[in-house]
């Protein structure tokens, strides 16, 4: 096909599952319940599932786009459609989006750390710690990132059985009555659902690094299904555990949920959750940083090491002044909006563009031929 990078740099198709799933899951998973209830309240699970299902369509569209790109990624696609200059500009806009993605991921995790564990530690030292860790992993290349994603999916998955304890205290009647909201409220919940599921857009950069690209489609869809299922499980447990008024006043429902788990040697199980979420968020940060480096490398032509440090530096500089929890809220809404524009606006637009131009070319070719 010629859309792959060197064979030795590629990873097996099944690893796309862990790469995409690891990128989608992030620190928003601690917080998403209280966001999606704005609108359809307890029925928001359905909106969430609907968004998850619609992502399968977006994934299919992305694969179509990538198959039509020269080098199999968004960078070459942009250059192909819009020319070198405008294409690079659009790719850099995507870079900006990636920066927001990483910053949102790190900042909301740092807020958890700040509030729950280290109220006195300065933010900058923690962000340096997180950035250095991710920079070290990213400097090892995509194979190392993939390995980290694999471990960062498997190890936190061990926490899923612990949801049994809050479920034991849950009230399934919380869900009743079902479907007592109107379409607008469902749509509002759906709007807030997307930021939990963001991350599939990195497929646009990862694609050339996947071996057997035809087979990888299956794994991408599995990843999306997996990523929809996990928040649905957590959401189900939290909705049966809390009632709607409690959820409205809870910032981190997942953590509050875990507080009731107790062992004879462990009083505060929520600490395990908090630290385990470091695994959940670091894989997303690493894939994000890697994507940023890749874009800088292929548009400006910068070397890998400096572009890694520049990306880390940019993230750090933007992270620092974000002190209040309100900015985190605002950051999330910016990310959600740009996610909607990117996934449900820009990508279908590109799809239509390519289809139309193809048909046009075909007709032109036929006209020339006859």
């Amino acid at each position: 096909m010629g859309k792959q990078v060197k064979e030795s740099l590629t990873v097996s198709p099944y690893l796309l599952w862990f790469l995409l799933h690891g990128t989608q899951m992030g620190s928003t998973l601690l917080i998403f319940q209280s966001r999606i209830i704005k609108g359809a309240e307890m029925d928001s699970m359905f909106s969430f599932a609907a968004v998850g299902i619609s992502l399968h369509l977006i994934i299919a569209i992305m694969f179509f786009l990538l198959e039509n790109a020269k080098d199999g990624d968004i960078i070459s696609l942009h250059n192909q459609l819009f020319g070198k200059r405008l294409g690079s500009l659009l790719t850099l806009a995507f870079y900006g989006y990636i920066l927001i993605f990483i910053i949102n991921e790190m900042r909301s995790y740092l807020e958890v750390i700040h509030v729950w564990v280290f109220p006195n530690t300065p933010l900058w030292s923690l962000s340096v710690l997180l950035l250095l860790t991710s920079a070290y992993i990213v400097s090892g290349g995509l194979r190392v990132i993939t390995g980290i994603s694999l471990f960062c999916v498997i190890i936190p998955s061990l926490l899923i059985p612990s949801l049994y304890f809050p479920l034991k205290q849950g009230h399934l009647t919380n869900f009743l009555p079902l479907f007592n909201h109107n379409a607008y409220e469902f749509a509002e919940s759906a709007y807030h659902s997307l930021s939990t599921l963001l991350g599939i857009e990195f497929l646009l950069l990862l694609y050339p690094f996947i071996k057997n690209q035809e087979k990888s489609k299956k794994w991408a869809h599995i990843a999306v299904a997996h990523s929809t299922l996990i928040p649905l499980i957590i959401g189900f447990v939290s909705f049966s555990f809390f009632n709607i008024q409690q959820l409205e006043h809870t910032i981190w429902p997942t953590l509050i949920l875990s507080k009731i788990i107790r062992f004879p040697f462990l009083e505060r199980f929520d600490y395990i959750y908090i630290f385990m979420w470091f695994f959940v968020m670091i894989s997303a940060c690493c894939v994000g940083l890697w994507g940023g480096v890749r874009i800088l490398k292929n548009t400006i032509g910068m070397k890998a090491k400096p572009s890694l440090w520049i990306t880390c530096g940019l993230v750090f500089v933007v992270l620092l002044p974000m002190k209040s929890p309100m900015t985190i809220e605002r950051l999330d809404s910016v990310l959600a909006l740009s996610g909607w524009i990117l996934l449900y606006g820009y990508i279908p637009l590109l799809f239509i563009w390519i289809r139309v131009s193809k048909r046009f070319k075909k007709r032109e070719g036929m006209a020339n031929g006859s």
């Binding site: 990873v11 097996s12 690893l15 750390i113 564990v117 280290f118 530690t121 923690l126 710690l129 997180l130 860790t133 070290y136 992993i137 090892g140 194979r143 190392v144 993939t146 390995g147 980290i148 694999l150 471990f151 960062c152 107790r262 004879p264 040697f265 462990l266 009083e267 505060r268 600490y271 908090i274 630290f275 385990m276 470091f278 695994f279 670091i282």
Partner: protein
């Protein structure tokens, strides 16, 4: 690799090139006092026979009984070199006129026999002695209760003999390479033809041939020079003195490298899990073998994380511990004036000191030291309120746990890993430990041994190799070689499948 030509090396090389005739070789060699030359036949006018050798390297018995006496007995028949060659009852006899070769062989324990000094042709006879080598080695450093106790020695010929004894097929191929500009050490690559992937053999061969080093003291030097990544505390090749381990590695499709003067043999490509396998796992029934292997892996985790968890919990996360557990901890620590990290580092260093001193001292004194160190110092520090009781227990247990790793090099690595984790725990508590774990994983994921990922079969995940990784399944199920080594044939043996059970009644 860059060449480093020291002054010694230059002189050796240049003088080597200068000596083109055998007379010059002898002249140079006679500067040493142990170089001997003599004629076995006195007052003889027709043939002048002269034998030259380094006395310190040859077996005097061979010279006297075979060379001298045979030549004296058959002196009438000797007309030329071929005659001498036919009467010498030793196997390695060679007629040659290469002075450079003679010089090399002389220093390896050969004798040069000349007929009529002026002639350029001469005979090289192998009369080297096996002095200065022990003949047997008990595997004291990698002990196992069940199974063979014989280990490798410093003599490569005996080591090869031990290997050949157990793999009695011609497919076992040995390739010889000479390494070391001053030591000219004999290094042998051993592999199973048709099983070992030729790419691994080729990589080892290339890397060994590229070595420029003066004296190879031990195979561990080779290990470090040919390793894929030298900036890592992890051993990338397994090195062992056990014969059975090397044989197991070879039959699984790995390459073994023997080096003369070293009782340790290195095998590769090795994976992370290989280092926690003990031969005893295979000698015991699989249920026991599996149990002990899991205990060993858990002890590694315990040994790395126990002290950091203590430091993290007592520095930042008191609230994690339930009251019943917190109370004894606080009581045991109430008179300790230091923060937990100082306390932990102090005790860990004490244990390291004991271990290091125990390793340097003779065995008998070492035991006394263990008692003095372990009991007296431990009790005294607790009484003096320098450390808490509970930390003493944790540190002692984690030291104990780190001894369970069968390979010494890996055990050392695990000893070391604890310290960065303690520091991270002191700085960022539980978050620090998790960050350290991710960095450790990131490091392990980068490593490769002979081009094979170090963490295989965990990542890249390979199914079908798990029967002999975390567990040791029954011999019925471990019939295949690990696929990640890409062996020539994957089947090891075919077990019979007639069991007594409901199906076969």
């Amino acid at each position: 690799m860059k060449r480093h030509n020291g002054p010694v090396m230059d002189s050796v090389n240049s003088s080597n090139n200068a000596r083109t005739t055998i007379a010059e070789v002898f002249q140079y060699a006679s500067k040493s006092s142990d170089f001997h030359q003599f004629s076995p036949i006195e007052d003889d006018d027709s043939v002048g026979i002269r034998i030259s050798y380094y006395q310190s390297l040859v077996d005097g018995l061979k010279i006297n009984r075979y060379l001298v006496s045979e030549i004296q007995k058959n002196i009438e028949h000797i007309k030329n070199l071929q005659d001498i060659k036919s009467i010498i009852p030793l196997d390695e006899v060679k007629v040659t006129h290469e002075a450079a070769e003679a010089e090399k062989k002389l220093i390896k324990g050969y004798a040069v026999i000349q007929l009529n000094e002026a002639e350029q042709e001469f005979i090289l006879v192998n009369v080297k002695t096996e002095q200065g080598h022990r003949l047997s080695n008990e595997t004291e450093n990698e002990f196992s209760v069940v199974g063979p106790k014989i280990g490798f020695v410093e003599n490569i010929d005996i080591n090869i003999h031990l290997l050949r004894q157990q793999i009695a097929v011609p497919e076992l191929v040995l390739e010889e390479i000479t390494v070391g500009t001053l030591s000219n050490t004999k290094v042998i690559i051993a592999y199973l033809d048709g099983v070992t992937n030729p790419r691994h053999v080729q990589t080892v061969r290339q890397r060994l041939k590229a070595i420029d080093f003066d004296v190879i003291f031990d195979s561990s030097i080779l290990d470090q020079i040919i390793s894929d990544n030298s900036n890592t505390p992890f051993p990338l090749f397994l090195s062992t003195e056990r014969v059975d381990r090397v044989i197991y590695a070879i039959i699984s499709g790995q390459v073994a490298v023997f080096s003369d003067n070293s009782p340790y043999v290195i095998t590769g490509p090795s994976t992370f899990l290989d280092f926690f396998i003990s031969p005893e796992d295979y000698y015991l029934p699989w249920i026991l073998g599996t149990f002990f292997r899991i205990i060993r892996l858990m002890s590694v985790v315990f040994s790395i994380f126990a002290t950091p968890l203590y430091v993290a919990a007592l520095t930042y996360h008191f609230e994690v511990l339930p009251e019943v557990l917190l109370e004894p901890l606080i009581i045991s620590r109430q008179h300790v004036p230091f923060p937990p990290v100082i306390e932990a580092i102090f005790l860990e260093i004490t244990i390291e000191l004991l271990r290091e001193a125990g390793a340097r001292l003779p065995t008998k004194i070492g035991q006394t030291l263990g008692i003095v160190g372990g009991i007296v110092i431990g009790q005294a520090t607790v009484h003096a309120a320098l450390t808490s009781n509970i930390l003493l227990i944790i540190v002692a247990l984690s030291a104990l746990a780190s001894f369970t790793t069968p390979i010494f090099k890996m055990a050392n690595t695990i000893r070391l890993l604890r310290f960065p984790f303690i520091l991270l725990a002191a700085l960022w508590g539980g978050l620090g430990i998790f960050v350290g774990f991710i960095v450790l994983l990131g490091h392990l994921l980068r490593l490769k041994s002979l081009g094979t990922p170090y963490l295989v079969p965990i990542f890249p995940f390979r199914t079908g190799n798990l029967a002999d990784s975390f567990i040791r399944a029954s011999y019925q199920y471990v019939t295949n070689r690990s696929k990640f080594l890409k062996p020539g044939s994957t089947k090891r043996y075919h077990p019979k499948e007639d069991k007594e059970d409901l199906n076969n009644e």
